[in-house]
Structures are given as C-alpha cells and as structure tokens.
C-alpha cells in the first residue's frame, strides 16, 4: 500500500499536526515503508478469532460516587501557558 500526499495531509489535519510541504514528502515515503511492514498482517486468516484488547480478562470496576480529589485549582492553573482571571486563555472561538 502506498500513501498519497493527500492522505498525509488529511491524516495530519485529523491529528492536529501542522506539516510543511517538505515534511509531508518525507512522511509520505516513511509512512509508506511502515505500512509495507504492517501489510504482512493482512494475509493472516483470523476468521472466528476474538479480538484481544487487553492482556487480562478484566471488566471496568465501579466505585462509590464520592469526591476523592481535592481542589487544586491554583496549582493546576499555574501549569497552563496562558491564563486570565482564573480561566484558560485560547484564541476567540465564537464571534
């Protein structure tokens, strides 16, 4: 399978990654090689095999609906690139 430049740009946009024309060219050839490695998988007969998502056959646990986290608003906000009046600052979304 070989990826087109359009495929690369589409995937980059879905992944929210800006790519330059030069980077897209390189990514096209490298990703094509990697999918060449992955292609071996396609020929395997997996009819009737149950997909395995986890090593241990466990189900999600339920817990009591009670508050376990403490309020760390100031500490957590201090990690953000831009805050104002206790809020995360991002470019305007709604006019």
């Amino acid at each position: 399978m070989s990826l087109t430049l359009d495929d690369v740009h589409k995937v980059a946009r879905l992944a929210r990654l800006a790519v330059s024309a030069e980077e897209a060219q390189l990514a096209q050839s490298q990703l094509t090689n990697i999918f060449g490695l992955i292609a071996e998988m396609q020929a395997v007969d997996t009819q009737g095999v149950a997909p395995m998502s986890h090593a241990q056959d466990v189900t999600q646990r339920l817990r009591e609906d009670k508050i376990t986290e403490t309020n760390q608003r100031e500490l957590l906000l201090s990690l953000a690139p831009q805050v104002e009046k206790g809020l995360y600052l991002v470019p305007q979304v709604i006019e």
Partner: protein, 484 residues
Amino acid sequence: MFNSSLQQLAAALHSKKISSIELTQLFLDRIAALNPKLNAYITVNPELSLAQARAADVRIAAGKAVALTGIPIAQKDIFCAQGWRTTCGSKMLHNFIAPYDAHVISQFNQAGAINLGKTNMDEFAMGSSNETSYFGPVKNPWDDSKVPGGSSGGTAAAVAARLCAAATGTDTGGSIRQPAALCGISGLKPTYGVVSRYGMIAFASSLDQAGPMARSAEDLALLLNVMAGYDERDSTSLPRATEDYARDLGKSLAGLRIGLPKEFFAQGLSNEVAQAVEAAIAEYKKLGATVVDISLPNSRLSIPVYYVLAPAEASSNLSRFDGVRYGYRAPEYGNLADMYEKSRAQGFGAEVKRRIMIGTYVLSHGYYDAYYLQAQKIRQLIAQDFVEAFQHCDVIMGPTTPTTAFNLGEKGDDPVQMYLSDIYTIAVNLAGLPGMSIPAGFGSNNMPIGLQIIGNYFDEAHMLNVAHQYQQVTDWHSQVPQGI
C-alpha cells in the same frame, strides 16, 4: 560504595557506616562528574534529593527503616513526581513541573527511598535507541559511540555507570529489556497490571508496564516489592495478594523446564548473541534444568501488530497535549485550530509525529477493520501461542536483542530498521506476560549481551529465582564498564 548491592547499602545505612545524606551526595557527585559525557539524566535536583535523604536518616535513627529507606533510586522521566520537572523526553513537557506523584513514586517515597533524579528516555517512550529524546541521546557507558538502547536508555546507562543504586523503567515493546541487554544490566517487565500506571505518562495503555532495572536479580526483587501492588486509580491494576518477590531466590533449579522457541534462533540473530545465549543455556543445564523445543509460530507478526496497536493507542493518548492546560504552546498562531496544529507540530519530535499519524490513519473511517481489528485478532493468536508453549515448559529463554548495541546514528533515518530491533521483546507485551533480561556475556567488540527470560502470568518470583541462580554461578552481571 557505589558498587554495593541494595542489601549491602541497607546494611551500611542501618549500621551507621554511612548516612543517607552522604550516600546521596556520593551519587550526586558521580552524576556531576560523569553525566556531561553520558547524558543519562535529564533532571537532577540535589535540594529535593538531599531533603529526602535528611528525612531518611531521621527515620533510620528512629529504627523505622524498611528495605530501601535512604537508598538513592533514579526514576525514568515518564513518572510524574510532585515538584520535579517531568518531561517524558519531550519539548512538549520541557518545563512541566508535575503537580502530583505517580503511584510508583509514592510507593518509593513511602519506603523512604531517595529520588536521585529523572533519567533520559526516548520521547514519550517511542524509540529503541534513546535518540528521539528532545534532550539529546544517551551514550552507552561501555562505548560512547554506541546507543544505550531505549526507551529506558537513561536508566540503563545510569545503572551500568553506577550513577544510582538502582532505577525504574517502563516497557511497552521492550523498553526495559532491550536497554538492559545493551547496557549489561538486569531488567524486569512484570505481568501487565502488576504495577500501577497511575501518573506514568501514557504511550500505549494496553501495553505499558513499569518495572525495575538494576545490577542483579536480587536487587530487582527488592525494587519490585516496592513497586507492585493494587491501585484503584489505575483501572487495569489487578487486585492481588501482596507478594515477597525475593522469597524464592535461593531455590534450586533442578527439574526446571526451559522452552527454546525456534523462531528466536532463526535468521537475523547474530552469531555472537546466539553463542552467548547457548552458553547460558548450557550453564542452566549444569544447574539441573532441561531444555524443550517450542514454537511461537505467530511471533513473526508481533512487529506489524504492534505498529498498528501502539500508534493507535498513542494517537489517542497524546491528543491531550493541546497547548491549553499544560505543556508547550507555539509562540505565534491564528485561530484555535492553528494554535493546536502549531503547538503540536513544534512540541512533538519526528518519531512521535510519525506514530501519531500512523495511529490516526489506522483508526480513521474505512480502515478500522482492516488494521486495528485485524491486529487485535492476531494479538489473540500471539497470546495463545504462549499459552500453548507453557503447557510444555516453565520458562522461555532466548536472546533479548538480535545484536549488541548499534552505533549512534546508524538507524536514525530508517524507522523500519529501528522497529525491527525489538523483534524478540514485543510479543511478550502483546500477551501481557512478564519478561526480563539479564547479562549473559559480551560480543567481539566487548559490548554486553542479554539473555531474555519469559515467564507465565504472575510468575515474577520464579523468574527472579531463575535469574538469581544463574547470577550465583556467573559474573557477567558484576562487570563494570572501563573508566567507570
């Protein structure tokens, strides 16, 4: 002192031969002298380390010490440690100060161990050579023109160069075992679910598992005693009774059945690694073990399956890095989408972006069944191979890596060549089994060779016994790199 085992260090601390402050300072001085050359640590913070050492000395004086109290342990920079810069080897987190402790970190803190610093790693644990780190590659202490392996390469180099008493790593596709092999140390990836992933920055959640890296199996057991345990904050942490992983170290290996998978000794394995592994097996026979030929017919598919599943999970996990709540934000941008795209493009390195794109592609509309679902089905077949194999043997042995450490820069331009270096380790993660690597000799260029030991689910204590008995009759694990 820096060549001592953890038990010897504990004895020296308890008998007041040395204080934890003195011991911690000794290692900090070694780091100051040797780290500029090796680049094994991303962050050291003597103030924080020495404060812990001071508290440990008080605890020891009060007679309340446990096995690791006062002992300096290095932490892979993937574990959040409150107040410590925690970068995961990425520009994205180059200035991130963790606001809380990972479960592994809090377990070490409760034991009174000293956090000696944060070790270098491939960016977001994606790499097999430590060359994808934003903070520069780590050098192999045995030869500084060689890679230390990855992704826990900083930890492996730090342990090999005696820049810590012992350390932690994480293993998603071989990231504990491969660098342990290439740096001549011992490393253990436990059964999936034994060590909590809480506060361990996620790469591929269904495969990621933390484990100890040290100079001997005995040291690994003492570390795992601290690291393992149920934690309700990790939804895949397994509720199990507490174990003493050192309990069986001294047991005889008479009657041990070692399975040798023919696929691990086929084309691609270098002669010198094959010879070292065969010599180790011969040593095990002298200890009373017998050998069984086994087959893992689907193991050849583990690399393609891994490079669908791990990037798929990574693309999802790494979507949290958006330049809003924490981490890197681009200096210039237009609208919100542009801010996301530029921050992520500038904050992530090339390998991480490649894997995010692979993962995004295989999960995108129209490709899910052909890639993701097919990979999950083959994962089942790979796991079943091991179930079948363990009907006939107690442990599986083989090489950890096809060759000894390769040159820095050698595989840098070719991701596929880099991916193939994990051929013997990945299947273990897919199956969720415990695996370890211990030193088993040297190649012609005097670079270390690792023996891989794969156990059945929850068989860590037995594997440590198997490794420890070998280390009683060989001295590969106590060799020290020249100039160290």
